[in-house]
Amino acid sequence: MNTTRFDFADYLFRYSIYCVSLLMILVIAWLLGDVFIKGFSHLSWDFLVEEPRSSGRAGGIAPILTSTMLILAVALITAVPIGLSVAIWLAELTSSFGKYQQPLTGFVGSTLDVLAGIPSIVYGLFGNAFFSVYLGLGFSILSGGLTLACMILPVFIRTCESGLRAVDRHWRDGALALGMSRVTTIFHILLPTTKPAILAGLILSMGRATAETAALIFTSGYVDRSPDSLLDSGRALAVHIYDLSMNVTGGDANAYASALVLILMILIINVVVQAMLDRWFFANTRIIRSTTSTHQ
């Protein structure tokens, strides 16, 4: 009897999955390829260290790079400690609420999910109203960075929280049974174990922050000169690309080159952050990723 009967539905299903996957890869490859081909010829050392001239048609992007880095730094320095704290609170410290724990964490969790889904332009308007006007920070790197921090916090918190929740309960029990305090348990066992999730959250957040335009136009501003301080206005790279491609005729070439720089920058930052975390914060811990292999 022929057991390998030809199943048309199975065949169709398998090949449609292949085709869709291939399509996705092609779109990404085309996008990256397009940016690379059109941008690479304009990329040079001078492009990175010169001031923009004639509204960015000529010259480089040095001040814009400075502003972008400063905005990103402000956003991360604000968001990471707050985000980690909230994640730890949500995942570890709410048990004292007893029967109110579930409703409380559920409510905070869904609030965060809603916040994560809000379009960035709304964050931009909020940042403008709150940081720029109400707190009087004006159009500044600081306003922009803080707005971005608000924007990336929900996603960062949720990623870290789910990472912490995924930590094997047996390690928590083990730590408690040894009379170890909450603080030691969190800092020496839970956080190092959650490192992959924290990293994922960080990379996701940085990607979103670096690529942000809408939230920054109203907060950190538009000025393409180098900022003097955190209270000075500055143009982020994504805003620069938007401006060159939409408002400046003949700016396309430099827009592509800037886009290529943006992509490379995100790549470099990811590698550097990973290396930094490895070296400084998790030096004492050797974590085997596939812990499942030892616990059958």
Binding site: A177, L178, M180, N284, I288, T294
Partner: protein, 287 residues
Amino acid sequence: MTELETQSLTKSTYSQPTFTLGELEQGTQCCEPTPHLAIENLSVSYHSVPVLSDVSLNIYKGCITALIGPSGCGKTTFLSTLNKLIDNNYNATVTGSMKLDESDLVKDTIDTLQLRRRIGMIFQRPNPFPLSIRRNLDLPLKEHGIRNAKTRAEKIEKALSDVGLWNEVKDRLDSSALQLSGGQQQRLCIARAIVLEPEVLLMDEPCSALDPVASAVVEDLIQRLAGSYTVVIVTHNLAQARRVANYAAFFWMTERVGKLIEFGHSQHLFEQPKHALTAAYITGKQG
């Protein structure tokens, strides 16, 4: 409720269990029986639903006490009440009294972290932290205020030697504890508990996740620990309970509430059980 159960519950002296310890005729005589933990009328409930009711027994110093009984009859709950790990579950309420030395662990306000240093616990599934072998023992020592690195190193070596792991791991103390085999991991967990020099060791089915060879090694170790430590061990392996324990307590679930049915010298409990349920359980007729 099964016929046997109903019969035994109505006929026996179930309502007023009295546990008196007779002379030990043979087997491991561990000590003169001095109570280390005196437990009276201990009841535990989750969300106001009782899971363990009216347990009274003494845990004797330097002896091994085995807790036996079917799954879900409250053995593990009882064990985690002893080191107050149950406090972490805010839905749990504990009543009764549980005396360690002069302090009542139920009524008095006690330093839980210090208590857990005195009462160590080993879990069913080996749970070494995802850190190096050395750091698994170093971290609890540091936590309990041993600042001197040399003292810590000495204590670590001693604890690892006590569990027979030192020769196996001394060349790779800084490699991950998760690379050890299951049996080694469980012995590491025991070392991690005894490095704090506790008085009591609670073991929740310490061998059930291990293969027979590793299980025998750990069982051997438990027997060697008796005398130096008071051991309370939950086990489903009746042969093991019989081999290692000086005292045995039999738990059973009636109407979804765990109860202590019989407690005594393990030899008496296994050879001349007083209660029909015990007899049925140890001969495999029920449970």
